[in-house]
């Protein structure tokens, strides 16, 4: 340890020698000290600009800390520090060197306040500073900020950066940023037209946004060039929009599929109008919450695995509750749909209120594991990771369920009981047992749907309420008793919904979908894929 520390110290000393002269550092410190006296946002912004104007890379640390709200002023001596959470209080670091310089209680230091305007100013300032950074990602970020905030004074540093750039993709971005700056400068028309061509080729919303303001502020050939480039971008974007609607539709469809697939078993196969289905989904989501709480407090390293751990538990919890409901209530009510509906609705209220009593009425926080956060781009289409994983997950659940139903003895028994209960019973199948397990399976599937839905919706006692109508809609539309019907039903409803939404709005879109389904059911009362079975006979 001592040896390593000694090396560290030597390195630090060497680094200290490499740093610019002490006079420059003293200047920086003098500017940073002004944060302590800046009383409002415009005063703080002035200090930020002053720091950025030094052009010294050392100001990155205090500026980044300010943007994150980690820049503090010690009340006793008005010294400025970068803070980081440590132990009970806040650890103070030197704003320039980042060396530890003691700790402070929360009450002894005052945070330098920051708002959106300031954060933007800092981002712009850091953009110019990080143009020469070693990390390509930092250079890409710099190019992106400079593209969004074009300025004639940026052209020269960008020219220098382009000349030094070795990575082709970063170079292209830098050239686009340069083109953006050329458009707001007083360079000759030919330069500007070339810049418009370059930006037009980029073809995304940022380019469109930039060209819109160029078009508004210029005239002659430049204006015409901008108009033409905008028209071209708009036509490609329209195509991407259609693709986007399909993707959103598929994604909504996957959520519907997950919510409905358990119901496709309990309602579709068994014919039980299960109003407590949504609450099984809710129980699954709450199981996820409990698992995450335990992981947060005891095994923080496992957080990214929380959903995987929650899946089997959610299945078991919901399946167990389903089993209890079937044995306790539903088995007495087979063949009496109205009573089943009322009884399961009562059960749903009891479950909701129980969860409300145990966990409280407010939303519970279920975090996204890192592999489910953020998004990536395919062309102009932003695909969010959580939606993509939910789609994959829903298809997996569907495949497994299909396998269980079609390829296992248990599935065979289930189908046999559905097709003809008496015949199945006389063949020696214990039909009540199959009923109970089938209901538990449907409920368990709803539980694991809850794990996935906790990632996109809020985890509150009302969670299930939002899905029950949609689930019934999907199952009825797809054809009662047919898993494939549920799949096709979920995705077609999702896509129709998302195509209607941009034109009709979310409220009207939903109404239109409902009317379409009613009309469809009039025409084909048994849904897309009709199946013979107990549900049909009842």
């Amino acid at each position: 340890m001592i040896f390593i520390r000694a090396i560290g110290l030597t390195l630090l000393l060497l680094l200290g020698m490499l740093l610019p002269s002490n006079a420059a550092e003293a200047d920086l410190r003098a500017i940073i000290a002004k944060f302590a006296t800046a009383s409002n946002f415009s005063a703080i912004e002035a200090v930020v600009h002053e720091l950025a104007a030094t052009g010294d890379r050392a100001v990155e640390r205090p500026l980044a800390a300010l943007a994150e709200g980690r820049l503090y002023v010690r009340k006793t001596d008005s010294l400025v520090f970068v803070g980081q959470d440590g132990g009970g209080g806040i650890e103070l670091l030197d704003p320039l060197s980042g060396e530890k310089s003691g700790a402070a209680a929360k009450g002894d230091i005052a945070k330098v306040k920051v708002n959106n305007t300031l954060r933007r100013a800092i981002r712009d300032a850091l953009g110019t500073l990080t143009l020469g950074a070693k990390d390509p990602a930092a250079r890409i970020a710099a190019a992106a900020t400079m593209f969004k905030t074009p300025d004639a004074t940026n052209i020269e540093p960008l020219d220098a950066a382009i000349a030094n750039e070795t990575v082709a993709s970063v170079k292209a971005l830098l050239e686009q940023a340069r083109a953006a700056s050329v458009l707001v400068s007083d360079r000759p028309e030919a330069d500007k037209l070339a810049a418009i061509a370059l930006i037009g080729a980029r073809g995304d919303r940022d380019a469109l946004s930039l060209l819109t303001s160029v078009e508004a502020n210029s005239e002659g050939t430049v204006k015409d060039g901008a108009t033409a480039a905008m028209a071209k971008i708009n036509s490609t974007l329209a195509l991407w929009d259609a693709g986007q609607n399909i993707w959103y539709g598929i994604s909504l469809g996957s959520v519907l599929l997950l919510a409905a697939i358990g119901l496709a078993i309990t309602f579709g196969v068994m014919g039980v109008i299960n109003m407590a289905h949504g609450e099984m989904v809710m129980l699954g989501a709450y199981t996820t919450f409990v698992v995450q709480e335990v992981i947060r407090s005891s095994f923080p390293g496992l957080f990214d695995w929380s959903l995987v751990i929650a899946l089997p538990l959610a299945f078991l919890v919901a399946a167990f509750v389903g089993l209890v409901i079937e044995r306790g209530v539903i088995r007495f009510l087979y063949g009496r749909p109205l009573e089943t509906l009322l009884a399961t609705w009562g059960v749903s209220l009891i479950l909701q209120q129980a969860v409300r009593t145990i966990f409280g009425p407010t939303n519970q926080e279920v975090g996204n594991p890192s592999w489910m956060s953020g998004s990536f781009d395919i062309g102009q289409l932003a695909v969010t990771w959580n939606r993509l994983w939910i789609l994959v997950f829903s298809l997996c659940v569907f495949a497994v369920l299909l396998y269980v139903m079609k390829r296992t003895p248990w599935g065979l028994q289930m189908r046999a009981v559905t097709a003809n209960r008496r015949m199945a019973a006389s063949m020696g199948i214990r039909t009540p047992w199959v009923d109970a397990l089938t209901f538990a399976l449907g409920s368990g599937i709803a539980g694991i749907a809850g794990v996935a839905l906790s990632q996109v919706d809020n985890v509150s006692p009302n969670l299930g309420r939002g899905y029950i109508i949609d689930s019934f809609m999907v199952v009825v539309f797809g054809g009662v008793g047919n898993l494939w019907g549920t799949l096709v039903g979920a995705f077609s409803l999702g896509i129709v919904n998302k195509f209607l939404e941009p034109y009709a709005g979310a409220v009207l879109g939903k109404i239109v979908v409902l009317v379409l389904i009613i009309l469809f059911i009039q025409k084909r009362p048994r849904g897309l894929f009709a199946l013979k079975g107990r549900a049909v006979e009842a």
Partner: protein
């Protein structure tokens, strides 16, 4: 076995009925108590927000009793559960007033629940303290509005976004849940923005259903609207439950507060509790109180709350502060009138001034609205708000919006001799009509 299931059905249906029934605290027979009604949903959709308010009221009543009660008598809370069912609100209000003989009622959250109890309160002549920000266009003799009117929340919020500090916003998305509060508020905001010179094509209005959870299309529409080369902001009147998926989608699609800030009117500390706020830092909310407000009164209130609810994690929020202010105003008015008789209290409460939690005093105005400071806060990574702007003084609640043609001539003054909630200054008559 056949015999069994009818019993079970009965049990289940009894459970259903029980869920909708009142949980009234057993009434003491003696006259040595003053009863206070609490009319907040403890089950159903709105339980998420209203249960907290019920607890806050119980805490305030406890504290008042610890201080020696009121007029030498103990206060007694009568809690009923209207179960997020609007007609049931009216029934429960009637029960509180006629059966339990409460001196005043603290309750309601949604505008539709308030509208449904209004006739009951005026018929039976009792008092309702309503603690939630609302759309205005109303002033009733029996109702005291301790939440914000649009000019105490929406208008200052938009002003902030238009200011240099707020980013000089030029283009506006008005995103709301489809019901009376967002629709009326957006109508007022649209008129206000147009009066400020914003062109119609720079305003986009969109509504989504209650509990909406698939925000992909809406968020990408916002992104699209925001890429027209002008600074864009979203003003959100999206209701409680739908907010979590809305913010999750904003975070996932990478809409940063520096680029397109979202200013919310219905998102408080409580709603953020269900969210990882790190990707949302910088998005805004406008309220009259934040838990992070640094005053001794607030510090004590939070400490009391944590002690009462037995959890350090529970947050405080704006409607709780409204109940704090409203309850103290009622107490003071009863002391002033020397009786709990609603008629006397209604007259006595006007002009009553009590400390609020943001370091000032709130006063009940003759239009039954109160004076409040307006705070604009930015969401922080710890789920709290940090105040970035505050009105220099207190803002008086304006019940009839000056920006709507139907209501701009109306005023309300419940003092004699005017005693009118909708006096039309243009015609000089009482009985004008608002927009809803």
């Amino acid at each position: 076995m056949r015999g069994n299931f009818s019993t079970i059905t009965k049990m289940v249906s009894a459970g259903v009925v029980a869920a909708g029934l009142s949980v009234s605290v057993p009434a003491r027979a003696a006259d040595d108590t003053i009863k206070v009604g609490i009319l907040h949903s403890l089950s159903g959709t709105m339980a998420i927000s209203e249960t907290t308010l019920k607890d806050a009221m119980l805490m305030l009543i406890d504290e008042q009793n610890a201080k020696g009660g009121l007029l030498g008598k103990k206060l007694e809370a009568v809690v009923v559960d209207p179960a997020s069912n609007w007609p049931l609100f009216a029934e429960k209000a009637r029960e509180l007033i006629s059966k339990d003989k409460v001196a005043a009622v603290f309750g309601c959250w949604t505008s539709v629940s308030r509208k449904s109890v209004l006739p009951v309160f005026s018929e039976l002549d009792n008092i309702l303290f309503y603690p939630v920000q609302y759309e205005g266009e109303e002033s009733e003799r029996n109702v005291f509005y301790t939440g914000a009117a649009p000019n105490q929340q929406a208008i200052p919020a938009v002003d902030y976004l238009m200011s240099e500090d707020g980013g000089s916003v030029k283009r506006w998305v008005l995103e709301g849940t489809d019901y009376v509060y967002p629709r009326t508020t957006n109508k007022i905001l649209e008129a206000y923005l147009k009066a400020k010179g914003v062109a119609a094509e720079d305003i986009m209005v969109n509504y989504t259903p209650f509990g909406f959870s698939d925000w992909q299309t809406e968020v990408s529409a916002i992104k699209k609207f925001g890429s027209a080369g002008k600074k864009t902001a979203v003003v959100s009147t999206v209701n409680g439950d739908a907010n979590v998926p809305f913010y999750k989608e904003l975070g996932n699609q990478g809409i940063k507060a520096e680029d397109i800030p979202v200013m919310a009117f219905s998102v408080g500390e409580e709603e953020l509790a269900g969210l990882d706020t790190a990707p949302l830092v910088g998005h805004l909310a406008a309220w009259n109180y934040f838990q992070s407000v640094d005053t001794p009164e607030n510090e004590k209130f939070i400490a009391d709350w944590h002690k009462f609810i037995k959890s350090d994690k529970r947050t405080t929020n704006d409607p709780m502060e409204a109940h704090y202010v409203g309850f103290n105003m009622w107490v003071k008015a009863v002391e002033k009138a020397g009786t709990t008789d609603p008629d006397k209290v209604i007259d006595a409460v006007i002009g009553v001034s009590v400390p609020n939690l943001t370091g000032g005093y709130s006063t009940m105005m003759p239009n039954h609205h109160i004076t409040k400071p307006v705070l604009i806060g930015e969401i922080q990574a710890d789920g709290q708000f940090e105040t970035v702007s505050q009105t220099p003084g207190l803002v008086m609640g304006d019940e009839w919006s000056d920006y709507l043609a139907d209501s701009k001539d109306l005023i309300s003054d419940w003092r004699a001799p005017l005693s009118c909630g909708n006096f039309n200054v243009a015609t000089g008559k009482c009985g004008g009509k608002g927009t809803n």
